[in-house]
Amino acid sequence: MEHLNSDEVVSEEKPPILGSWKKIYLVVLLNLLVLIILFYSFSEAFK
Protein backbone atom coordinates (compact mmCIF):
# COMPACT_ATOMS: atom_id res chain seq x y z
CA MET A 1 0.00 0.00 0.00
CA GLU A 2 2.87 2.36 0.75
CA HIS A 3 4.00 2.51 -2.88
CA LEU A 4 0.54 3.05 -4.25
CA ASN A 5 0.34 4.80 -7.59
CA SER A 6 -2.33 5.45 -10.16
CA ASP A 7 -2.43 2.11 -11.97
CA GLU A 8 -2.69 0.24 -8.66
CA VAL A 9 -5.81 2.05 -7.54
CA VAL A 10 -9.01 0.76 -9.04
CA SER A 11 -12.03 2.39 -7.51
CA GLU A 12 -14.85 -0.08 -7.00
CA GLU A 13 -17.29 2.67 -6.16
CA LYS A 14 -19.92 3.20 -8.84
CA PRO A 15 -21.08 6.74 -9.59
CA PRO A 16 -24.67 7.59 -8.60
CA ILE A 17 -25.62 8.32 -12.22
CA LEU A 18 -24.76 7.11 -15.76
CA GLY A 19 -23.37 3.77 -14.54
CA SER A 20 -19.64 4.40 -14.98
CA TRP A 21 -17.10 7.09 -14.18
CA LYS A 22 -15.88 7.11 -17.79
CA LYS A 23 -19.30 8.32 -18.92
CA ILE A 24 -19.33 11.08 -16.29
CA TYR A 25 -15.84 12.23 -17.32
CA LEU A 26 -17.05 12.31 -20.92
CA VAL A 27 -19.99 14.50 -19.90
CA VAL A 28 -17.62 16.99 -18.21
CA LEU A 29 -15.36 17.14 -21.28
CA LEU A 30 -18.31 17.42 -23.68
CA ASN A 31 -19.71 20.21 -21.52
CA LEU A 32 -16.41 22.08 -21.99
CA LEU A 33 -16.58 21.57 -25.75
CA VAL A 34 -20.19 22.77 -25.88
CA LEU A 35 -19.31 25.85 -23.78
CA ILE A 36 -16.43 26.79 -26.10
CA ILE A 37 -18.73 26.44 -29.14
CA LEU A 38 -21.47 28.45 -27.39
CA PHE A 39 -19.06 31.24 -26.38
CA TYR A 40 -17.69 31.36 -29.91
CA SER A 41 -21.19 31.50 -31.43
CA PHE A 42 -22.17 34.16 -28.88
CA SER A 43 -19.21 36.38 -29.85
CA GLU A 44 -19.79 35.83 -33.55
CA ALA A 45 -23.53 36.55 -33.32
CA PHE A 46 -22.93 40.11 -32.14
CA LYS A 47 -19.81 40.85 -34.18
Partner: protein, 569 residues
Protein backbone atom coordinates in the same frame (compact mmCIF):
# COMPACT_ATOMS: atom_id res chain seq x y z
CA UNK B 1 -22.81 53.54 2.78
CA UNK B 2 -25.96 54.33 4.75
CA UNK B 3 -27.07 52.89 8.07
CA UNK B 4 -29.15 50.10 6.47
CA UNK B 5 -26.11 49.02 4.43
CA UNK B 6 -23.98 48.79 7.58
CA UNK B 7 -26.73 46.74 9.28
CA UNK B 8 -26.91 44.32 6.31
CA UNK B 9 -23.11 44.05 6.24
CA UNK B 10 -22.76 43.44 10.00
CA UNK B 11 -25.67 40.96 10.12
CA UNK B 12 -24.32 38.91 7.22
CA UNK B 13 -20.84 38.70 8.73
CA UNK B 14 -22.18 37.86 12.19
CA UNK B 15 -24.42 35.16 10.73
CA UNK B 16 -21.46 33.55 8.95
CA UNK B 17 -19.29 33.49 12.07
CA UNK B 18 -22.07 32.07 14.26
CA UNK B 19 -23.01 29.54 11.59
CA UNK B 20 -19.37 28.44 11.32
CA UNK B 21 -19.06 28.03 15.09
CA UNK B 22 -22.35 26.09 15.27
CA UNK B 23 -21.63 23.74 12.35
CA UNK B 24 -18.03 23.16 13.42
CA UNK B 25 -18.79 22.23 17.04
CA UNK B 26 -17.96 18.81 18.45
CA UNK B 27 -14.48 18.11 16.99
CA UNK B 28 -12.74 15.98 19.60
CA UNK B 29 -9.70 14.83 17.63
CA UNK B 30 -7.50 16.08 14.81
CA UNK B 31 -9.28 13.92 12.25
CA UNK B 32 -12.45 15.80 13.06
CA UNK B 33 -10.72 19.17 13.27
CA UNK B 34 -8.50 18.87 10.18
CA UNK B 35 -10.51 16.52 7.94
CA UNK B 36 -14.09 16.95 9.23
CA UNK B 37 -14.03 13.17 9.99
CA UNK B 38 -14.18 12.66 6.21
CA UNK B 39 -17.93 13.08 6.44
CA UNK B 40 -18.76 15.77 3.88
CA UNK B 41 -21.24 15.39 1.03
CA UNK B 42 -20.17 16.30 -2.48
CA UNK B 43 -22.22 19.51 -2.75
CA UNK B 44 -20.66 21.00 0.42
CA UNK B 45 -17.17 20.04 -0.74
CA UNK B 46 -17.85 21.34 -4.27
CA UNK B 47 -18.91 24.79 -3.11
CA UNK B 48 -16.05 24.87 -0.57
CA UNK B 49 -13.59 24.14 -3.42
CA UNK B 50 -15.09 26.93 -5.53
CA UNK B 51 -15.25 29.39 -2.63
CA UNK B 52 -11.62 28.76 -1.68
CA UNK B 53 -10.47 29.35 -5.25
CA UNK B 54 -12.62 32.47 -5.76
CA UNK B 55 -11.12 35.16 -3.54
CA UNK B 56 -12.60 38.61 -3.00
CA UNK B 57 -10.37 39.92 -5.76
CA UNK B 58 -12.09 37.47 -8.15
CA UNK B 59 -15.36 39.29 -7.54
CA UNK B 60 -13.97 42.82 -7.53
CA UNK B 61 -11.27 42.58 -10.17
CA UNK B 62 -12.86 40.21 -12.72
CA UNK B 63 -15.78 42.52 -13.67
CA UNK B 64 -13.24 45.36 -13.83
CA UNK B 65 -11.06 43.28 -16.10
CA UNK B 66 -14.00 42.68 -18.46
CA UNK B 67 -14.72 46.42 -18.39
CA UNK B 68 -11.17 47.21 -19.48
CA UNK B 69 -10.13 44.18 -21.53
CA UNK B 70 -13.29 42.28 -22.49
CA UNK B 71 -14.19 38.67 -21.73
CA UNK B 72 -11.13 36.89 -23.12
CA UNK B 73 -9.92 36.05 -19.60
CA UNK B 74 -12.57 33.27 -19.48
CA UNK B 75 -10.29 31.18 -21.74
CA UNK B 76 -7.80 30.84 -18.88
CA UNK B 77 -10.29 28.41 -17.25
CA UNK B 78 -10.73 26.12 -20.27
CA UNK B 79 -8.08 23.69 -18.97
CA UNK B 80 -9.73 23.34 -15.56
CA UNK B 81 -12.40 20.71 -16.46
CA UNK B 82 -9.71 18.52 -18.05
CA UNK B 83 -7.58 18.84 -14.91
CA UNK B 84 -10.58 17.86 -12.75
CA UNK B 85 -11.04 14.64 -14.75
CA UNK B 86 -7.32 13.77 -14.49
CA UNK B 87 -7.33 14.37 -10.72
CA UNK B 88 -10.46 12.23 -10.26
CA UNK B 89 -8.70 9.34 -12.01
CA UNK B 90 -5.38 9.72 -10.15
CA UNK B 91 -5.10 11.86 -7.03
CA UNK B 92 -8.51 11.36 -5.42
CA UNK B 93 -8.48 7.53 -5.12
CA UNK B 94 -4.82 7.45 -4.07
CA UNK B 95 -5.17 10.09 -1.34
CA UNK B 96 -8.39 8.50 -0.07
CA UNK B 97 -7.10 4.95 0.02
CA UNK B 98 -3.94 5.94 1.88
CA UNK B 99 -5.97 7.96 4.38
CA UNK B 100 -3.52 10.87 4.34
CA UNK B 101 -4.12 14.27 5.93
CA UNK B 102 -1.95 16.17 3.45
CA UNK B 103 -0.71 15.72 -0.10
CA UNK B 104 2.90 15.85 1.18
CA UNK B 105 2.32 13.00 3.62
CA UNK B 106 1.57 10.85 0.57
CA UNK B 107 4.97 11.77 -0.91
CA UNK B 108 6.80 10.29 2.08
CA UNK B 109 4.80 7.07 1.74
CA UNK B 110 5.56 6.99 -1.97
CA UNK B 111 9.16 8.33 -1.96
CA UNK B 112 10.93 9.38 1.23
CA UNK B 113 11.08 11.96 4.02
CA UNK B 114 13.32 14.43 2.16
CA UNK B 115 10.84 14.75 -0.73
CA UNK B 116 8.07 15.37 1.80
CA UNK B 117 10.15 18.05 3.56
CA UNK B 118 10.99 19.77 0.27
CA UNK B 119 7.36 19.97 -0.88
CA UNK B 120 6.15 20.99 2.59
CA UNK B 121 8.63 23.87 2.66
CA UNK B 122 7.65 24.99 -0.84
CA UNK B 123 3.98 24.96 0.18
CA UNK B 124 4.46 26.78 3.49
CA UNK B 125 6.58 29.54 1.93
CA UNK B 126 4.52 30.16 -1.22
CA UNK B 127 1.06 29.68 0.31
CA UNK B 128 2.10 31.58 3.45
CA UNK B 129 2.82 34.69 1.38
CA UNK B 130 -0.30 34.15 -0.74
CA UNK B 131 -2.43 33.88 2.43
CA UNK B 132 -1.15 37.28 3.52
CA UNK B 133 -2.08 38.73 0.13
CA UNK B 134 -5.53 37.10 0.29
CA UNK B 135 -6.22 39.27 3.34
CA UNK B 136 -4.24 42.32 2.20
CA UNK B 137 -5.62 42.80 -1.35
CA UNK B 138 -9.36 42.98 -0.51
CA UNK B 139 -8.57 44.90 2.69
CA UNK B 140 -6.91 47.57 0.58
CA UNK B 141 -9.81 47.79 -1.90
CA UNK B 142 -12.44 47.82 0.86
CA UNK B 143 -10.51 50.41 2.88
CA UNK B 144 -10.37 52.74 -0.16
CA UNK B 145 -14.03 52.28 -1.07
CA UNK B 146 -15.38 52.50 2.49
CA UNK B 147 -12.96 55.21 3.59
CA UNK B 148 -11.70 53.00 6.43
CA UNK B 149 -8.17 52.38 7.66
CA UNK B 150 -6.69 49.24 6.05
CA UNK B 151 -5.74 48.03 9.54
CA UNK B 152 -9.44 47.88 10.43
CA UNK B 153 -10.55 46.05 7.27
CA UNK B 154 -7.75 43.50 7.53
CA UNK B 155 -8.44 42.93 11.24
CA UNK B 156 -12.16 42.42 10.51
CA UNK B 157 -11.46 39.88 7.74
CA UNK B 158 -8.64 38.05 9.55
CA UNK B 159 -10.22 38.28 12.99
CA UNK B 160 -13.58 36.81 11.95
CA UNK B 161 -11.83 33.98 10.10
CA UNK B 162 -9.71 33.18 13.17
CA UNK B 163 -12.83 32.98 15.37
CA UNK B 164 -14.61 30.29 13.38
CA UNK B 165 -11.59 28.35 12.10
CA UNK B 166 -10.01 27.93 15.55
CA UNK B 167 -13.39 27.00 16.96
CA UNK B 168 -14.70 24.59 14.32
CA UNK B 169 -11.72 23.65 12.14
CA UNK B 170 -12.22 22.39 8.61
CA UNK B 171 -15.88 21.52 9.18
CA UNK B 172 -16.56 25.19 9.95
CA UNK B 173 -14.48 26.23 6.93
CA UNK B 174 -16.39 23.95 4.53
CA UNK B 175 -19.87 24.80 5.81
CA UNK B 176 -19.21 28.56 5.85
CA UNK B 177 -17.60 28.34 2.38
CA UNK B 178 -20.80 26.68 1.15
CA UNK B 179 -22.97 29.54 2.40
CA UNK B 180 -20.46 32.22 1.49
CA UNK B 181 -20.45 31.18 -2.16
CA UNK B 182 -24.25 31.13 -2.28
CA UNK B 183 -24.39 34.65 -0.76
CA UNK B 184 -21.72 35.94 -3.14
CA UNK B 185 -23.40 34.52 -6.24
CA UNK B 186 -26.79 35.88 -5.12
CA UNK B 187 -25.17 39.30 -4.67
CA UNK B 188 -23.57 39.12 -8.13
CA UNK B 189 -26.92 38.16 -9.73
CA UNK B 190 -28.55 41.19 -8.08
CA UNK B 191 -25.73 43.44 -9.29
CA UNK B 192 -26.25 42.19 -12.87
CA UNK B 193 -29.99 42.76 -12.58
CA UNK B 194 -29.44 46.33 -11.35
CA UNK B 195 -26.90 47.08 -14.11
CA UNK B 196 -29.40 45.93 -16.77
CA UNK B 197 -32.27 47.78 -15.07
CA UNK B 198 -30.30 51.04 -15.00
CA UNK B 199 -29.68 51.05 -18.76
CA UNK B 200 -31.68 53.74 -20.63
CA UNK B 201 -35.21 52.58 -21.54
CA UNK B 202 -34.58 52.66 -25.28
CA UNK B 203 -31.61 50.26 -24.93
CA UNK B 204 -32.68 46.62 -25.11
CA UNK B 205 -30.60 43.67 -23.92
CA UNK B 206 -29.53 42.82 -27.48
CA UNK B 207 -28.60 46.49 -28.05
CA UNK B 208 -26.39 46.29 -24.96
CA UNK B 209 -24.72 43.14 -26.31
CA UNK B 210 -24.26 44.71 -29.70
CA UNK B 211 -22.63 47.83 -28.21
CA UNK B 212 -20.26 45.74 -26.09
CA UNK B 213 -19.33 43.65 -29.17
CA UNK B 214 -18.57 46.77 -31.22
CA UNK B 215 -16.31 48.00 -28.41
CA UNK B 216 -14.47 44.65 -28.43
CA UNK B 217 -15.73 43.39 -25.07
CA UNK B 218 -17.32 40.09 -26.23
CA UNK B 219 -13.96 38.63 -27.25
CA UNK B 220 -14.62 35.34 -25.42
CA UNK B 221 -12.87 32.91 -27.76
CA UNK B 222 -9.68 33.39 -29.76
CA UNK B 223 -8.48 30.38 -31.79
CA UNK B 224 -5.23 32.00 -33.00
CA UNK B 225 -2.06 30.41 -31.63
CA UNK B 226 0.39 32.98 -30.33
CA UNK B 227 2.90 32.51 -27.47
CA UNK B 228 2.90 36.23 -26.71
CA UNK B 229 -0.90 36.31 -26.34
CA UNK B 230 -1.69 35.22 -22.79
CA UNK B 231 -5.38 34.50 -23.37
CA UNK B 232 -6.36 32.29 -26.28
CA UNK B 233 -8.02 28.88 -26.46
CA UNK B 234 -4.71 27.00 -26.66
CA UNK B 235 -2.92 28.75 -23.81
CA UNK B 236 -6.14 28.37 -21.81
CA UNK B 237 -6.44 24.64 -22.43
CA UNK B 238 -2.73 23.78 -22.10
CA UNK B 239 -1.43 26.40 -19.65
CA UNK B 240 -4.71 26.53 -17.73
CA UNK B 241 -4.74 22.75 -17.37
CA UNK B 242 -1.21 22.72 -15.89
CA UNK B 243 -2.05 25.53 -13.47
CA UNK B 244 -5.28 23.77 -12.40
CA UNK B 245 -3.50 20.39 -12.05
CA UNK B 246 -0.85 21.99 -9.84
CA UNK B 247 -3.31 24.01 -7.79
CA UNK B 248 -5.95 21.32 -7.22
CA UNK B 249 -3.55 18.36 -7.14
CA UNK B 250 -0.62 19.62 -5.07
CA UNK B 251 -1.78 22.65 -3.10
CA UNK B 252 -3.02 21.57 0.32
CA UNK B 253 -5.58 24.42 0.43
CA UNK B 254 -7.52 22.55 -2.27
CA UNK B 255 -6.46 18.96 -1.52
CA UNK B 256 -7.76 19.39 2.03
CA UNK B 257 -11.18 20.41 0.69
CA UNK B 258 -11.76 17.18 -1.23
CA UNK B 259 -10.10 14.99 1.41
CA UNK B 260 -13.06 15.87 3.63
CA UNK B 261 -15.41 14.03 1.24
CA UNK B 262 -16.99 10.98 2.90
CA UNK B 263 -15.90 8.67 0.05
CA UNK B 264 -14.01 8.65 -3.24
CA UNK B 265 -17.35 9.13 -4.98
CA UNK B 266 -18.24 12.24 -2.98
CA UNK B 267 -14.79 13.81 -3.55
CA UNK B 268 -14.90 13.00 -7.26
CA UNK B 269 -18.39 14.44 -7.67
CA UNK B 270 -17.25 17.63 -5.93
CA UNK B 271 -14.30 18.10 -8.30
CA UNK B 272 -16.38 17.25 -11.36
CA UNK B 273 -19.04 19.74 -10.32
CA UNK B 274 -16.27 22.35 -10.20
CA UNK B 275 -15.27 21.20 -13.70
CA UNK B 276 -18.84 21.76 -14.92
CA UNK B 277 -19.60 25.02 -13.11
CA UNK B 278 -16.34 26.99 -13.00
CA UNK B 279 -16.22 28.12 -16.64
CA UNK B 280 -19.86 29.34 -16.75
CA UNK B 281 -19.33 31.06 -13.37
CA UNK B 282 -16.31 33.00 -14.64
CA UNK B 283 -18.21 33.84 -17.82
CA UNK B 284 -21.06 35.19 -15.69
CA UNK B 285 -18.77 37.37 -13.53
CA UNK B 286 -17.04 38.75 -16.63
CA UNK B 287 -20.43 39.37 -18.22
CA UNK B 288 -21.41 41.56 -15.25
CA UNK B 289 -18.32 43.67 -16.00
CA UNK B 290 -19.38 43.99 -19.64
CA UNK B 291 -22.86 45.19 -18.62
CA UNK B 292 -21.30 47.68 -16.19
CA UNK B 293 -19.21 48.85 -19.16
CA UNK B 294 -22.38 49.35 -21.25
CA UNK B 295 -24.00 51.22 -18.34
CA UNK B 296 -21.03 53.60 -18.23
CA UNK B 297 -21.52 54.38 -21.93
CA UNK B 298 -24.62 56.35 -20.94
CA UNK B 299 -23.65 57.58 -17.47
CA UNK B 300 -20.44 59.59 -17.06
CA UNK B 301 -17.80 57.45 -15.27
CA UNK B 302 -14.83 58.96 -13.41
CA UNK B 303 -11.55 59.11 -15.32
CA UNK B 304 -9.93 56.90 -12.66
CA UNK B 305 -12.06 54.65 -10.46
CA UNK B 306 -9.67 54.61 -7.49
CA UNK B 307 -10.78 57.74 -5.58
CA UNK B 308 -7.71 57.85 -3.32
CA UNK B 309 -5.19 57.78 -6.18
CA UNK B 310 -7.22 60.28 -8.22
CA UNK B 311 -7.33 62.60 -5.17
CA UNK B 312 -3.56 62.29 -4.67
CA UNK B 313 -2.80 63.33 -8.27
CA UNK B 314 -5.27 66.21 -8.08
CA UNK B 315 -3.48 67.61 -5.05
CA UNK B 316 0.00 66.94 -6.41
CA UNK B 317 2.44 68.47 -8.91
CA UNK B 318 0.62 67.03 -11.94
CA UNK B 319 -2.85 68.31 -10.98
CA UNK B 320 -3.09 70.54 -14.05
CA UNK B 321 -2.22 67.65 -16.43
CA UNK B 322 -4.77 65.42 -14.73
CA UNK B 323 -7.53 68.06 -15.06
CA UNK B 324 -6.75 68.40 -18.78
CA UNK B 325 -7.07 64.64 -19.16
CA UNK B 326 -10.37 64.74 -17.28
CA UNK B 327 -11.69 67.34 -19.71
CA UNK B 328 -10.55 65.28 -22.70
CA UNK B 329 -12.14 62.20 -21.13
CA UNK B 330 -15.47 64.00 -20.61
CA UNK B 331 -15.56 65.26 -24.19
CA UNK B 332 -14.84 61.82 -25.66
CA UNK B 333 -17.46 60.29 -23.36
CA UNK B 334 -20.14 62.71 -24.60
CA UNK B 335 -19.28 62.05 -28.26
CA UNK B 336 -19.22 58.32 -27.67
CA UNK B 337 -22.58 58.37 -25.91
CA UNK B 338 -24.18 60.27 -28.79
CA UNK B 339 -22.62 57.99 -31.41
CA UNK B 340 -23.83 54.88 -29.57
CA UNK B 341 -27.41 56.15 -29.71
CA UNK B 342 -27.01 56.83 -33.44
CA UNK B 343 -25.52 53.37 -33.94
CA UNK B 344 -28.45 51.73 -32.14
CA UNK B 345 -30.92 53.74 -34.16
CA UNK B 346 -29.20 52.64 -37.38
CA UNK B 347 -29.37 49.05 -36.15
CA UNK B 348 -33.08 49.32 -35.44
CA UNK B 349 -33.63 50.78 -38.91
CA UNK B 350 -31.53 47.99 -40.49
CA UNK B 351 -29.43 50.64 -42.21
CA UNK B 352 -26.30 48.51 -42.80
CA UNK B 353 -24.24 51.29 -44.34
CA UNK B 354 -24.76 53.59 -41.35
CA UNK B 355 -24.23 50.73 -38.93
CA UNK B 356 -20.81 50.01 -40.48
CA UNK B 357 -19.96 53.71 -40.47
CA UNK B 358 -20.92 54.18 -36.80
CA UNK B 359 -19.10 51.00 -35.79
CA UNK B 360 -15.87 52.36 -37.17
CA UNK B 361 -16.40 55.70 -35.49
CA UNK B 362 -17.18 54.08 -32.13
CA UNK B 363 -14.10 51.88 -32.28
CA UNK B 364 -11.90 54.87 -32.96
CA UNK B 365 -13.52 56.83 -30.11
CA UNK B 366 -13.03 53.88 -27.75
CA UNK B 367 -9.34 53.74 -28.67
CA UNK B 368 -8.96 57.44 -27.89
CA UNK B 369 -10.88 56.94 -24.65
CA UNK B 370 -8.60 54.05 -23.58
CA UNK B 371 -5.52 56.09 -24.47
CA UNK B 372 -6.66 58.91 -22.16
CA UNK B 373 -7.21 56.43 -19.33
CA UNK B 374 -3.74 54.97 -19.91
CA UNK B 375 -2.24 58.47 -19.74
CA UNK B 376 -4.07 59.06 -16.46
CA UNK B 377 -2.74 55.76 -15.06
CA UNK B 378 0.78 56.82 -16.05
CA UNK B 379 0.30 60.09 -14.18
CA UNK B 380 -0.74 58.14 -11.09
CA UNK B 381 2.31 55.90 -11.38
CA UNK B 382 4.57 58.96 -11.74
CA UNK B 383 2.92 60.67 -8.81
CA UNK B 384 3.20 57.68 -6.45
CA UNK B 385 5.65 55.04 -7.61
CA UNK B 386 4.56 52.53 -4.97
CA UNK B 387 0.89 52.77 -5.89
CA UNK B 388 -1.14 50.32 -7.96
CA UNK B 389 -1.79 52.52 -11.00
CA UNK B 390 -4.43 50.18 -12.45
CA UNK B 391 -7.99 50.74 -11.27
CA UNK B 392 -9.69 47.51 -12.41
CA UNK B 393 -10.20 46.43 -8.77
CA UNK B 394 -12.27 49.55 -8.13
CA UNK B 395 -14.58 49.71 -11.19
CA UNK B 396 -17.23 47.27 -9.97
CA UNK B 397 -17.29 48.54 -6.37
CA UNK B 398 -17.45 52.14 -7.59
CA UNK B 399 -20.55 51.19 -9.62
CA UNK B 400 -22.05 49.40 -6.59
CA UNK B 401 -21.42 52.29 -4.20
CA UNK B 402 -22.74 54.96 -6.52
CA UNK B 403 -25.68 53.36 -8.29
CA UNK B 404 -27.07 50.46 -6.25
CA UNK B 405 -30.03 51.12 -3.94
CA UNK B 406 -29.58 51.30 -0.17
CA UNK B 407 -29.39 47.87 1.45
CA UNK B 408 -28.03 46.20 -1.69
CA UNK B 409 -24.78 48.15 -1.31
CA UNK B 410 -24.35 46.58 2.13
CA UNK B 411 -25.13 43.15 0.70
CA UNK B 412 -22.53 43.46 -2.08
CA UNK B 413 -19.87 44.66 0.38
CA UNK B 414 -20.83 41.75 2.64
CA UNK B 415 -20.25 39.49 -0.40
CA UNK B 416 -16.75 40.88 -0.87
CA UNK B 417 -15.86 40.47 2.82
CA UNK B 418 -17.37 36.99 2.70
CA UNK B 419 -15.44 35.96 -0.41
CA UNK B 420 -12.25 37.14 1.24
CA UNK B 421 -13.04 35.17 4.39
CA UNK B 422 -13.83 31.98 2.47
CA UNK B 423 -10.53 31.88 0.61
CA UNK B 424 -8.55 32.99 3.68
CA UNK B 425 -10.12 30.32 5.88
CA UNK B 426 -9.27 27.60 3.35
CA UNK B 427 -5.67 28.76 3.19
CA UNK B 428 -5.26 29.14 6.94
CA UNK B 429 -6.64 25.68 7.66
CA UNK B 430 -4.34 24.18 5.00
CA UNK B 431 -1.30 25.98 6.41
CA UNK B 432 -2.20 24.85 9.94
CA UNK B 433 -2.77 21.25 8.82
CA UNK B 434 0.57 21.10 7.00
CA UNK B 435 2.36 22.69 9.98
CA UNK B 436 0.85 20.10 12.32
CA UNK B 437 0.95 16.93 10.21
CA UNK B 438 4.10 17.45 8.14
CA UNK B 439 6.21 19.36 10.65
CA UNK B 440 5.03 19.14 14.28
CA UNK B 441 3.67 15.57 14.36
CA UNK B 442 6.37 14.24 12.00
CA UNK B 443 9.51 15.90 13.35
CA UNK B 444 8.81 17.57 16.72
CA UNK B 445 6.37 15.45 18.75
CA UNK B 446 5.58 12.11 17.19
CA UNK B 447 3.67 10.63 20.14
CA UNK B 448 1.11 12.68 22.02
CA UNK B 449 -2.54 12.53 22.97
CA UNK B 450 -5.34 13.56 20.59
CA UNK B 451 -6.17 16.38 22.98
CA UNK B 452 -2.62 17.71 22.70
CA UNK B 453 -2.65 17.69 18.88
CA UNK B 454 -6.09 19.30 18.87
CA UNK B 455 -4.87 22.18 21.06
CA UNK B 456 -1.75 22.66 18.90
CA UNK B 457 -3.97 22.60 15.76
CA UNK B 458 -6.10 25.43 17.16
CA UNK B 459 -2.97 27.39 18.09
CA UNK B 460 -1.62 26.89 14.55
CA UNK B 461 -4.88 28.14 12.99
CA UNK B 462 -4.70 31.25 15.19
CA UNK B 463 -0.98 31.71 14.42
CA UNK B 464 -1.49 31.67 10.62
CA UNK B 465 -4.49 33.99 10.97
CA UNK B 466 -2.50 36.51 13.02
CA UNK B 467 0.37 36.18 10.56
CA UNK B 468 -2.03 37.04 7.69
CA UNK B 469 -3.29 40.13 9.53
CA UNK B 470 0.27 41.23 10.37
CA UNK B 471 1.33 40.71 6.74
CA UNK B 472 -1.56 42.92 5.58
CA UNK B 473 -0.31 45.79 7.78
CA UNK B 474 3.06 45.91 6.01
CA UNK B 475 2.30 44.61 2.50
CA UNK B 476 1.55 48.10 1.21
CA UNK B 477 5.14 49.14 1.84
CA UNK B 478 6.52 46.43 -0.40
CA UNK B 479 5.52 47.89 -3.78
CA UNK B 480 3.94 45.70 -6.44
CA UNK B 481 3.81 42.64 -4.26
CA UNK B 482 0.84 40.96 -5.88
CA UNK B 483 2.63 40.40 -9.18
CA UNK B 484 5.69 39.23 -7.27
CA UNK B 485 3.56 36.63 -5.47
CA UNK B 486 2.11 35.37 -8.75
CA UNK B 487 5.61 34.96 -10.15
CA UNK B 488 6.78 33.34 -6.91
CA UNK B 489 3.95 30.77 -7.19
CA UNK B 490 4.90 29.95 -10.78
CA UNK B 491 8.50 29.37 -9.72
CA UNK B 492 7.42 26.37 -7.63
CA UNK B 493 4.11 25.05 -9.00
CA UNK B 494 5.69 23.27 -12.00
CA UNK B 495 8.18 21.43 -9.79
CA UNK B 496 5.45 20.39 -7.36
CA UNK B 497 3.29 19.08 -10.18
CA UNK B 498 6.25 17.21 -11.68
CA UNK B 499 6.94 15.42 -8.36
CA UNK B 500 3.31 14.34 -8.04
CA UNK B 501 3.19 13.13 -11.65
CA UNK B 502 6.30 11.01 -11.00
CA UNK B 503 4.60 9.64 -7.89
CA UNK B 504 1.34 8.82 -9.65
CA UNK B 505 2.54 7.48 -12.99
CA UNK B 506 6.16 6.29 -12.75
CA UNK B 507 6.26 3.25 -10.50
CA UNK B 508 10.00 2.74 -11.00
CA UNK B 509 10.94 6.22 -9.73
CA UNK B 510 12.37 6.11 -6.20
CA UNK B 511 12.94 8.77 -3.54
CA UNK B 512 16.40 10.04 -4.45
CA UNK B 513 15.58 10.22 -8.17
CA UNK B 514 12.44 12.22 -7.36
CA UNK B 515 14.34 14.56 -5.06
CA UNK B 516 17.18 15.17 -7.54
CA UNK B 517 14.74 15.71 -10.41
CA UNK B 518 12.80 18.22 -8.27
CA UNK B 519 15.99 20.17 -7.61
CA UNK B 520 16.88 20.03 -11.34
CA UNK B 521 13.44 21.34 -12.27
CA UNK B 522 13.76 24.16 -9.78
CA UNK B 523 17.22 25.13 -11.08
CA UNK B 524 15.93 25.27 -14.69
CA UNK B 525 12.91 27.37 -13.66
CA UNK B 526 15.10 29.77 -11.68
CA UNK B 527 17.47 29.99 -14.67
CA UNK B 528 14.52 30.87 -16.95
CA UNK B 529 13.36 33.46 -14.44
CA UNK B 530 16.80 35.07 -14.09
CA UNK B 531 18.29 34.79 -17.58
CA UNK B 532 15.45 34.47 -20.14
CA UNK B 533 12.43 36.50 -21.19
CA UNK B 534 10.02 33.54 -21.14
CA UNK B 535 6.62 34.62 -19.75
CA UNK B 536 6.19 33.36 -16.17
CA UNK B 537 3.00 31.44 -16.99
CA UNK B 538 5.14 28.97 -18.92
CA UNK B 539 7.37 28.23 -15.87
CA UNK B 540 4.71 25.74 -14.68
CA UNK B 541 4.99 23.73 -17.89
CA UNK B 542 8.81 23.92 -18.07
CA UNK B 543 9.31 22.97 -14.40
CA UNK B 544 6.94 20.03 -14.68
CA UNK B 545 8.52 18.66 -17.88
CA UNK B 546 12.07 18.92 -16.50
CA UNK B 547 11.15 17.13 -13.25
CA UNK B 548 9.38 14.30 -15.08
CA UNK B 549 12.11 14.06 -17.77
CA UNK B 550 15.01 13.93 -15.29
CA UNK B 551 13.01 11.58 -13.07
CA UNK B 552 12.55 9.11 -15.95
CA UNK B 553 16.24 9.25 -16.95
CA UNK B 554 17.47 8.77 -13.36
CA UNK B 555 15.04 5.90 -12.80
CA UNK B 556 16.24 4.16 -15.98
CA UNK B 557 19.84 4.68 -14.85
CA UNK B 558 19.10 3.29 -11.36
CA UNK B 559 17.31 0.30 -12.88
CA UNK B 560 20.20 -0.58 -15.20
CA UNK B 561 22.63 -0.21 -12.28
CA UNK B 562 20.53 -2.54 -10.12
CA UNK B 563 20.17 -5.17 -12.86
CA UNK B 564 23.91 -4.82 -13.54
CA UNK B 565 24.81 -5.52 -9.91
CA UNK B 566 22.33 -8.42 -9.78
CA UNK B 567 23.92 -9.93 -12.89
CA UNK B 568 27.38 -9.72 -11.36
CA UNK B 569 26.20 -11.73 -8.30
Amino acid sequence: MRRLDWIVLATTLLFIVLYGIWKGRGSRNIKGFLLADRSMKWYTVALAIMATQASAITFTSTPGQAYADGMRFVQFYFGLPIAMVILCITAVPIFHKLGVYTAYEYLEKRFDAKTRVLTTLIFLVSRGIAAGITIYAPSLVLSVMLGMDIRITSIIIGGLVIIYTTSGGVKAVNYTDFFQLIIVMAGMCIALGVALHLLPNEISFTDALSVSAVMGKLNTVDFSFDFSNRYNVWSGIIGGMFVALAYFGTDQSQVQRYLTGESITQSRLALLFNGLAKVPMQFFILFIGVMVFVFFQFVQPPLIFNPVQAGKVKSGMRAQDFRQLEEKHNNIFKRKSEEIRKYIQARHEHDDVRVAEKKEELQSLQQRYDAVRTEASNLIAENDRKSDAGDTNYIFLSFVLTYLPVGLVGLIFACIFTASMSSSSGELSALATTSIIDVYKRFIKREASEKHYLIVSRIMMAFWGLYGIAFAQYAGRMGSLIEAVNILGSLFYGTMLGIFLLAFYFKQTKGTAAFVSALSGEIVVLYCFRFTSIAWLWYNVIGCFVVVGVGIILSAFEKSKTSGSLASL
